[in-house]
Symmetry: C2
Subunit: 478 residues, 2 copies
């Protein structure tokens, strides 16, 4: 049990329970990697028992019926049947918990992070929420040990949640998956024991870590994006004498009184309009009935042209996790993704350009995504999307407000990485937008993020990055 | 084309385009009934061609594949398999539009209502929104005439929607059905011609009509419930010298600054908790595979004990509608429903007691419903529900703040009626509530109603009734 020293230096370096600044966090991750390892080795899909092919549907299933399965999804476009398609997709109906424990120490919000290894991570260990657990995890189907700190999240509790909302995940890879994003406040951090593999860090430090490649995992980023703006802390108030134009614009964008280019009621109407169109909505189908551009070998399931992704098998050996060894299918993307937002100061307030993003796995057919979300190695064309892709990739470095290559979920995806960028438009931001694009403030996104299924997981990482812009840039300058 | 006379009496009685007060509205409904009639005659399910039984599934389908179909739903309760069940249900994936045109005249919000006849209405004509149309209606699958005023709702428009949100409908009868609830403001009501069967009425008068049995149809009520509170009008401000305690408590409940018993963030967390439980969620199944307590005869599909509802056939003859004659299946409830909320002043603010209501047709598994929602003729037991049922039915008349028997959707349901009640608890409102019950203010409900799938259609009628409490009681006293 730790007691918090409220003296000037509350995080004694010799105690690993409180980490102060990037140096200490980096050192702790290196140290954790020595005790917690997850090694994933490629094996054939015919060699991942007890996972097996369902004889009827061809779906890849676990005999328990738990975890997840690899199945198919079909998208029928009523206005353009020739462009209809089907593809493999992961179905995981269980709602998992992604939860941070948090506490205020000397007025600053701190979160209890976990140094967590996942088989799909390209670098082993990343910072994750305090709890990252599926129903199977915490009801023991896994056959593993119990999940630490779970009782703070899995039972009905009163008035301690700052965040508690279901949010979607990658909808080209997951069929209607969502997780319960939570942040639970402790009155006193000493309420909980800091177990090995866990540490308290300040919220600002977590934002700073976003700038490092593959350090903050996807689950931590999505929870972070839902943080109510009033809780982010004193640094949101303009600091006297600050001369950072972007930090000031970000602070205005977070402020409830700032004037957005388009009122929220109109944003909601625009979303409802697109949700109401009979368009892109996926229907689950048997895996053995998907289009024959998807080829199945004993080794893997892949697109005949090597596009999109492969479904592969892995053997996982773990130390410091619930179970020592297991095998499972994973989804391995064909190439690195790009998720980028244009940003602009409109009347002094930072706005992000978001897009109505349709995808087969969304429960509502569409969610708001970044200006650009694609796999550049596979993109082509002269559409609006291509125009914006050109803008975000050709921007001069001084207009790039945020840039970081980050990992997607390492429990289901094998080495899935996305380059995230926020690029400022300084010369005449486009105001006459194509259908499906809109400028929004961070405060508007914050309101939407209190509710499910408005903002997609890629946009959420960029929202968290935008929240951190004020803080992180100050560090850069220091 | 009407021009609005801004003199003292803007609604000349001789012109039917503006109706002022209940007398004029009643007279207009009687007059409209003479020119618009819909006669529904019972026929056997084997006599509703071109509707027919799908040979594979037993579903009742239209050969066009449009409109709707009668299919089955199965509910698996993981914790209590013995209580799992299946039943017939209506599947209508198309999103319809329920839209009011509105305008301010002399500072008061007015809406353009339609006197609409539906085959299922027990009394022919009821007040409906300006537009009430499914995709099949407005794309002409129906083979009927075009829908008046539709262009104000069906195309992307800018900044004129006060309401634009998808909301669910009866989830024991409809599988995941939702409609687009809209209210579009006109700068000047003279923008539109008032066609026969339409009239402008003041919002206050529409609230007053809620007290009359079977006058305001379900579609009008659901849109009304979503009205942003700031738009309701000057009468929400406390009137100087008012001595109506309830009206004052309602106004406080509508106010953004009023102190709710439970903060919204906690209400959201409570909803998320219940949404996350693997519980009551329906899966569509073939109609011929539902439990054998459902009996199919050439005449109808009914529960062997006469419970719940029947699926019956009707022949409809219409005058003043799109098509002169057609046949269709309808759902006929076995008995009148009851939807009732307990209300209490907590710290001077009116709160309603709402309940987490699970139902097989909800997209999110649960929505917030009234304190009590049941079919009293078929209810029994000693649960919390029975306790509250006793409270709302045994209350003395002076504690009944609102009471009215109203019709449910008359296009799919045959003579479906529900007794709606708001009952005040004056002696020590229960504060230590069973799990799944919570006190909320009207302002909190207003925030939730800007978003989809939080508040069920029965609770929405009661919300609209609660909004009208301040106004309607003044009329009663006058």
């Amino acid at each position: 049990m730790t007691t918090v020293d409220s003296e000037r230096h509350p995080h004694p370096v010799e105690c690993r329970e409180w980490l102060d600044g990037l140096e200490e966090i980096r050192a702790w991750l290196v140290e954790s990697a020595a005790t917690t390892q997850v090694l994933a080795t490629a094996v054939g899909l015919d060699d991942i028992a007890p996972w097996a092919e369902d004889p009827q549907t061809g779906d890849l299933v676990h005999p328990s019926g738990h975890f997840f399965r690899v199945t198919g999804v079909r998208v029928d476009l009523p206005d353009d049947p020739a462009r209809s398609w089907s593809q493999p997709i992961i179905d995981q109906p269980e709602i998992g918990i992604l939860g941070f424990l948090a506490a205020r120490v000397e007025g600053r919000l701190h979160v209890l992070v976990q140094a967590k290894a996942e088989p799909g991570n390209c670098n082993g260990i990343q910072l994750s929420p305090t709890v990252q657990a599926t129903w199977s995890n915490y009801t023991g189907v896994h056959g593993g040990s119990s999940v630490p700190y779970l009782s703070y999240f899995a039972t009905e509790h009163e008035g301690r949640s700052l965040i508690d909302v279901l949010q979607s995940e990658q909808a080209a890879w997951f069929y209607q998956k969502r997780n319960r994003n939570m942040l639970v406040m402790l009155e006193d951090p000493a309420e909980v024991e800091v177990l090995p593999g866990f540490a308290w860090i300040a919220l600002e430090d977590l934002y700073r870590c976003l700038l490092e490649a593959d350090v903050v995992n996807m689950d931590a980023r999505t929870v972070l994006s839902c943080l109510p703006l009033h809780a982010i802390g004193g640094w949101v108030e303009p600091e006297p004498g600050t001369d950072d134009r972007i930090a000031t614009a970000v602070r205005r964008s977070l402020h409830p009184e700032s004037v957005p280019r388009v009122p929220l009621v109109e944003i909601l109407s625009w979303i409802t309009h697109h949700r109401s169109m009979p368009g892109l909505r996926g229907t689950m189908v048997a895996l053995n009935s998907v289009d024959d551009v998807w080829v199945r070998t004993p080794q893997c399931i892949r697109h005949v042209e090597g596009r999109h992704f492969e479904i592969v098998g892995v053997r996982v050996e773990a130390r410091g996790r619930e179970v020592g060894e297991w095998r499972q299918p994973m989804l391995a993307p064909a190439a690195e993704g790009l998720a980028a937002c244009l940003a602009a100061e409109l009347d002094g307030v930072l706005h992000l350009l978001v897009r109505i993003a349709p995808s087969p796995g969304y429960r509502e057919g569409v969610e708001l995504g970044p200006t650009v979300q694609c796999v550049p190695a596979q993109s082509s064309g002269v559409t609006d999307a291509a125009h914006y892709l050109e803008r975000v990739t050709s921007a001069p470095p001084e207009h790039v407000l945020f840039e970081s290559v980050l990992s997607e979920e390492g429990g289901r995806f094998l080495r899935a990485r996305t380059a995230y960028r926020i690029v400022e438009v300084t010369d005449d931001p486009p105001l006459d937008l194509p259908s499906g694009y809109q400028w929004v403030t961070l405060h508007q996104m914050g309101t939407l993020l209190q509710h499910s299924h408005y903002v997609n997981v890629e946009a959420r990482t960029l929202i968290a990055a935008a929240h951190g812009l004020a803080v992180a840039r100050e560090v850069e300058r220091a």
